[in-house]
């Protein structure tokens, strides 16, 4: 007997993500999903942000990693609450993992929850974790053709943080070219060139966080 089904393979992820969105909206919590290749600087950006905006927002982090809790410990050293999810080889976080790790947080008393996804430019993009926005991170050490090669992330992200600009004198990375490609995919994409090492360029990123936080609170 043949049975016609037509069900999306990602439907269970999407239904849990929708539940999470409802929960986060109810709590007025801004949730950002940070996506980049390994080592682009997600944890470094969080360390800076959690430290510099400590007096302004109540922030917490969900850390996704293949193994180890190194990143959660780095983030916790800033004083922010951090919960580690080890995917044991899994290439992305999904909405169920996020839901199952929310218990330690007092969501009603948080302003921003950051999700640091597993370092990978491909799979995390397809698994909605209930976030308000995806934040794409790209480091100038990786090559300016990344937006061309991984269009979906730059298409779906709200902003692109271009990290390690302190290395620009030493690498062959054309900021204009990367920005142009990314904007072809997503005309409204905000682009923030920063250095998490020197602290250069972080203010526009912080201004964006403030604006998004205010918008979420009012919604």
């Amino acid at each position: 007997m043949e049975i016609a089904v037509t069900r999306n393979l990602l439907e269970s992820n999407e239904s849990v993500a929708a539940e999470l969105k409802e929960l986060f909206a109810h709590k007025g919590l801004l949730v950002l999903n940070l996506i980049s290749s390994p080592g682009a600087g997600k944890t470094s950006l969080l360390e800076r942000t959690l430290t510099d905006l400590r007096g302004e927002f109540r922030m917490a982090v969900i850390e996704g990693d293949l193994q180890t809790d190194n990143d959660a410990r780095r983030v916790a050293a800033t004083g922010a609450q951090a919960v580690q999810i080890n995917t044991n080889g899994g290439c992305h976080l999904d909405s169920r993992m996020v839901r199952d790790h929310l218990a330690p947080f007092d969501l009603a008393n948080l302003d921003i929850l950051f999700i640091e996804n597993v370092g990978n430019l491909v799979c995390p993009v397809e698994f909605d974790c209930g976030e308000d926005h995806k934040v794409a991170l790209l480091s100038v050490a990786e090559g300016d053709d990344k937006p061309e090669k991984y269009p979906l992330l730059f298409n779906l992200a709200k902003v692109m943080v271009l990290n390690k600009v302190d290395l620009l004198p030493y690498v062959d990375f054309d900021v204009q070219r990367a920005t142009r490609f990314a904007r072809q995919l997503n005309a409204a994409l905000g682009v923030f060139p920063v250095s998490c090492r020197s602290g250069e360029g972080l203010d526009p990123w912080y201004a964006w966080l403030r604006a998004e936080r205010a918008a979420k609170k009012q919604a």
């Binding site: 049975i3 393979l9 491909v122 799979c123 995919l185």
Partner: protein, 122 residues
Amino acid sequence: MLFSMHEMSLASNLLEMLRQEMEKHGATRLIEVRVCYGLLANVVPESLEFAVMALTEGTPLAGAKVTMQPIPPLLRCIGCGCEFEPGEARLAVFSPCPQCGEDFGHSVLRGKELYLDSIEVM
């Protein structure tokens, strides 16, 4: 054989669905599973087939044939609005439009799907 955690997690969603559908229709044996995937969806068909095999081994679902049906992409040109099927699937979003030559920023009308289409059961 190709082994990928990504397809493993997709396959475990698929198995959950197969169990639900079989129960709903009172089926006891799974003969064939047909999955449709867009060529722009991030999935390697052989890896998904393999993951289904690996995960069903020793279960009542074991031995089912997995058929992966590709869906070619269809784009709408951002320049002139015409619809076209790009040649090379991987970088399809950047394919030049056959009418006006525009090669960026097209919208994807088809080609990102990934769904369980139908099953053959007893």
